[in-house]
Subunit: 217 residues, 2 copies
């Protein structure tokens, strides 16, 4: 029995490690898509687009593996909850990859024109940096189950919300000279980064709940 | 054994029925939020906002129930897959409820000003009708496992994509006179309806895959 339990624990650790890998892939993706966006780097945008398939594949294999573990091991209720939570986290991480992919596709669509007007580049780059840090922290939260860092993720998301409001404020300002099409692009970009952060918070809250049995935030 | 199997089958049917109920709730929600949006009806918007909590609660209870079934019944692989798929469908439906809630919140935020300029009301109303029909079809697809209707959901989503493109075309047209703030509202609205339809397709594809073992579309 002790042996079986130990094999099972190894399997749970393997699931957790793949979630960490996924978070790191998503983090690298949003870093690269933000660079592609800000510097109008078409080849970086293309890389993000093709690497998103890799993220989808890892997520798909992970989900199949988790379901296989549940079917074979018939885990007790608490382990089952951890495995179901892992399925939900993998869905969040996959969606974060999609949103990074959206940033890259918008960059490619407008290329060689830049998506972001010069005076908003610092702000959008800041949003990208917050997004990247969020996904790096999420990797650590999954790996270490550090509830203090899980709460920091909530704070970073507040920062993202503030930057997002600032971005929308810039577009609706009377001095906006870049026209409606650019305003639409910036609106969608803002939404992509904001949703990316929301999913990071979602992953972090799931870990927090697993560890403490109570809801964060 | 036959008896246990039958109790289990009743439980699966119960899960399926709750997913149908959720789809119908979401369908009623998007119908009401579209009405609130088009007719600037504040009390309808408030109803959608408070009824979304009900949707969240039903989804939360359903998920807990599904996990409880898995823990108690230790289902065979095919039944386990169906139950995990039910968890994913409930997440899609909950998100559709959120998107309807976003439409209602935007309506409330701008009230008594209308969100949608008069000349776009027919188009946005059409998007709302397609969204409502999609969620009604999803209820039927879950209930009957009708794969022909599951494929129709894909076609309806194509219609939504066409309406969405038309909507964005209107905003970027040189004759747009409603300013940037209104363009942002319409961009976000378009995204809400489009994502609503994407999640409907996602639910429908999950049913299709459960029934046929192959991917639709």
């Amino acid at each position: 029995m002790a042996l079986i339990r130990s094999v099972f624990q190894d399997e749970l650790d393997g699931v957790s490690q793949t979630l960490v890998d996924l978070s790191n892939m998503v983090s690298a993706s949003i870093k690269k898509s933000t660079h592609a966006l800000i510097d109008s780097d078409l080849s970086a945008a293309e890389e993000v687009i093709s690497e998103d398939e890799k993220i989808d594949l890892v997520q798909h294999d992970l989900d199949a593996h988790i379901i296989d573990i549940i079917a074979r091991q018939q885990p007790v209720a608490s382990d089952l909850r951890a495995l179901v939570t892992a399925l939900r986290m993998s869905a969040d991480l996959e969606r974060m990859g999609d949103l990074s992919h959206h940033v890259a596709k918008l960059t490619r669509f407008r290329h060689p024109e830049p998506v972001v007007p010069a005076e908003l580049k610092d702000l959008v780059h800041h949003m990208g940096t917050v997004a990247e840090n969020l996904s790096r922290k999420v990797a650590t939260v999954i790996e270490t189950r550090d509830t203090v860092m899980a709460l920091q993720v909530e704070k970073d998301d507040d920062e993202m919300d503030g930057l997002h409001r600032q971005l929308l404020g810039n577009i609706t300002n009377a001095s906006w000279t870049h026209g409606v099409e650019s305003a639409i692009d910036i609106t969608l970009l803002g939404r992509y980064y904001e949703r990316f952060a929301d999913h990071a918070v979602s992953v972090s809250r799931r870990v927090y709940f697993l560890v403490t049995g109570t809801f964060a935030g």
